[in-house]
């Protein structure tokens, strides 16, 4: 129990004292148990007051401090710092919010506001009376980072981390690097191809001696926590020896009797069980897809490099941080959405890009030349009824860029954009301008009145009530309908479950704070980058990759980490292991241990996030959160309910 508590009540200029009688508050709390000193101050956060506080704490040997001022989101850390500078453990500081939640909220009722402030300051005193000095949980950290996903974001982050001095393990689930960007040709606005970007990044990754790239690899187990993740990586063999001559390889591909839809081309073409996605792809070594290979042996007979003796390997790796850059999937419309899967000239934007890639002089789809192209925007994004409420950000720009590409590449193309408002934000706006000048037609509707696609008389029509021409009903006979599909989270996002990374309402990985902590997750040491977090274009992915790399590096650089000590604690006497806390904990922070002849729960402090989800589920009330014990909460309640004094 503390006997020398210092209480400081802030005027905040007049922000507080115009509505709360701060002197009255001071008088009301000066005789509370344990209060040794009470002052009002014009600006508690001002340098001069901070200095006064430091000397008060030092000279008067204060053992607890309360500042009643603005929201703790603004100045909790400031005053914890004051305590520390004065040699007082910072957990002996308690903050009382009498601005946002008192003077401003109740500027219409000065008596009420003063009364509330008194109660809140008394509650803070009750809490600080019981406060204990705490030391941060210190853990050693390994100076290595696992980067999951070798697309543009993952590779860029890996290069940055390696250059800063970390050991990097770049783990890619596919047999080839590059992710989605390797599937695109010309990019907006630079007209570089996706493949060129990938080549540049891959070359730097391979040159760097501190980056180890695994392909066909995924994390299958994870133990430990920030500073010391112990991951198990499963590496699937590609069944090819390192040396492989091009001629023999082509023979091996030719003789392979297995044909499966080629996902690299969004299933508009087929590939063999032996494959590479394009001739110069990285690593420049083909792979055999063992899920579809029949082991007929024909490839082995014509190509020496085929090696079926290669085995799946498991590697145990220790890293201090994990950076997730696992990317996105394009939205796959269900059968019948705008005729998809039912009318054979309705395809998606990613498919259309591959169609352009494969058609040189003339644009041919299903044997027919294409002249009129209808693009239907916001398919799978900004849904009125579905779950995807978000805008996918890249699609307006990408569609207009692709439409221009088609117009420049082939003769006689007419583009019709059935949109819901165009968002070619930032530098991409010039493409919208260009497409308008080239004569592209824009038709617009609202989400509740979308265009309709129908097949009749051997033709496909897209019909719209165009809001830009006073709801006139307009119809286009389209040779090809392109559904502008948005981004959705990866279908297989099992890594999130393994690392316990939370997902947001949109089912993408969730950051701690959208604006202030945009690349960290509540799992200490796990950062997120690129489109795994939500729709992003390449520029935005690079930005987030670099900031995630910096954040991951800052965690491991010093070799030692200090974690918040406000974790759950188990009352050893009361606990009779039942496992309910373990079930409730989202982070597996509980261990079952033997203590004095019985099994009890033990909290692993470096894993516990201090969320408190375990507290209410314990049948013997054996769990408390440091700083939020029953005593803390109930003594605050007792004070808050006291009769008014004003």
């Amino acid at each position: 129990m503390k006997k020398k508590i210092g209480v400081y009540i802030c005027h905040c200029g007049g922000n507080i004292s115009d509505y709360v009688d701060v002197e009255k508050v001071r008088q009301a709390v000066e005789n509370e148990g344990g209060v040794f000193l009470s002052k009002t101050t014009m600006f508690a956060c001002a340098d001069s007051n901070q200095k006064d506080m430091v000397s008060d704490i030092k000279e008067k040997q204060l053992d607890g401090v309360v500042v009643a001022s603005c929201s703790p989101k603004l100045h909790l850390l400031t005053f914890r710092g004051v305590a520390e500078r004065a040699g007082l453990n910072k957990y002996n500081y308690v903050h009382a919010n009498i601005r946002e939640q008192v003077s401003w909220a109740h500027s219409d009722n000065k008596t009420g506001a003063t009364e509330k402030a008194i109660h809140i300051v008394k509650a803070a005193i009750a809490k600080v009376r019981n406060a204990e000095s705490l030391e941060p949980v210190k853990v050693q950290s390994t100076k290595a980072v696992a980067v999951v996903g070798a697309g543009v974001a993952g590779m860029r982050a890996a290069i940055e981390l390696a250059e800063a001095g970390a050991e990097v393990f770049l783990i890619e689930r596919e047999f080839f690097v590059g992710g989605r960007v390797s599937q695109w040709d010309d990019l907006c606005i630079t007209d570089e191809t996706g493949k060129e970007l990938i080549t540049r990044l891959y070359d730097r990754v391979m040159q760097h001696k501190h980056v180890t790239l695994f392909t066909g690899a995924e994390i299958v187990e994870n133990k430990g926590s920030v500073g010391n993740f112990e991951i198990k990586v499963k590496v699937t063999p590609r069944h090819f020896k390192l040396q492989c001559s091009g001629g023999e390889l082509q023979k091996a591909i030719d003789v392979c009797p297995v044909e499966v839809p080629d996902e690299f081309n969004f299933n508009i073409t087929k590939r063999k069980a032996i494959y590479h996605n394009y001739p110069s792809e990285y690593p420049q070594l083909p792979a055999i897809d063992m899920k579809t290979c029949t082991r007929c042996g024909k490839c082995e007979a014509v190509c020496n490099a085929v090696d079926f003796s290669q085995k799946t390997e498991y590697l145990n790796i220790k890293v201090g941080s994990i950076l997730l850059a696992t990317g996105f999937d394009p939205y796959e419309p269900p059968k019948g959405e705008f005729g998809y899967g039912e009318i054979d000239n309705v395809i998606t934007l990613p498919q259309f890009k591959r169609v352009i890639h494969y058609n040189d002089k003339r644009l041919i789809w299903q044997g027919k030349e294409v002249k009129n192209i209808a693009y239907i925007y916001c398919v799978g994004s900004r849904q009125l009824n579905g779950d995807n409420k978000y805008c996918s950000r890249y699609c307006c720009t990408s569609t207009i860029h692709t439409a221009i590409t088609a117009k420049n590449k082939y003769k006689g193309i007419h583009n019709f954009h059935f949109n819901r408002g165009i968002r070619t934000y930032g530098k991409a706006e010039v493409r919208y301008d260009e497409s308008s000048r080239l004569g592209d037609v824009y038709l617009q509707s609202f989400e509740y009145d979308p265009p309709v696609v129908e097949a009749r008389d051997g033709q496909t029509f897209v019909k719209i009530k165009d809001v830009l021409t006073a709801n006139k009903e307009l119809e286009v006979a389209a040779d090809l309908v392109v559904l502008v599909t948005g981004m959705v989270p990866r279908k297989d996002n099992s890594i999130a479950g393994l690392l316990k990374v939370p997902k947001g309402r949109d089912k993408f990985f969730n950051e701690i704070h959208m604006k202030l902590r945009p690349v960290e997750t509540v799992i200490d040491g796990v950062t997120i980058a690129g489109a795994s977090q939500g729709p992003k274009n390449i520029m935005e992915s690079m930005n987030s990759a670099l900031s995630a790399a910096t954040k991951s590096f800052s965690l491991i650089d010093s070799g030692e980490l200090a974690l918040e000590p406000t974790v759950a604690v188990v009352n050893k006497e009361a606990c009779e292991w039942c496992g309910k806390c373990d079930e409730a904990c989202p982070y597996s922070a509980f261990e079952k241990v033997e203590k004095d002849g019985k099994m009890i729960a033990k909290v692993i402090p470096s894993v516990c996030k201090g969320c408190g989800m375990c507290l209410p589920v314990c049948p013997s009330n054996a769990l408390e959160l440091i700083g939020l014990s029953d005593h803390d909460v109930e003594s605050m309640i007792d004070v808050l309910i006291e009769k008014d004094t004003v």
Binding site: E100, C611, P616
Partner: protein, 140 residues
């Protein structure tokens, strides 16, 4: 009920959450959205951390109502939060019924980090309900 002054606003204890609903309540102040000054807040890390005994303690010691400003689906600690907070409310309401207390003295709503207006609406209508109950009880 203590006091007996009919024109006294009911006392409400709000359990807010440090990362989600407390910022919304802060912002209500910033926007000068007024609500009764007899509404007090205790922030917790996550609404799934609230022990039923704390709620019972508040109601038995004299708070007229307890409002849980829950994280809902925005909880940074994971998707299970909504179900878990719901379970806490259900269990506490059982306890209230057993003790012959009005379970409607406990209320929960998801308050997102920018849900200042919904917060004020909720506590105002809750205070109104509790005020009427108080009046009825005072007459009885």
């Amino acid at each position: 009920m203590a006091g007996g002054k009919v024109n006294n606003s009911p006392k409400i204890l709000v359990f807010s959450t440090e990362k989600i609903s407390d910022p919304a309540i802060d912002m209500a102040g910033l926007l000068k959205l007024h609500y009764p000054p007899t509404v007090y807040t205790i922030p917790v890390p996550c609404s799934s951390a609230i022990k039923p005994r704390w709620i019972m303690h508040a109601l038995e010691q004299g708070f007229d109502g307890v409002f849980i400003a829950a994280d809902g689906t925005d909880c940074p600690y994971g998707e299970s939060c909504t179900t878990k907070t719901g379970e806490i409310v259900r269990e506490t309401m059982e306890q209230l019924k057993e003790k012959g207390m009005d379970p409607a003295r406990l209320k929960m709503a998801a308050i997102c980090s920018v849900c200042s207006e919904p917060f004020v609406k909720h506590v105002k209508s809750f205070a109104e309900y509790l005020g009427k109950e108080k009046e009825v009880n005072a007459v009885e």
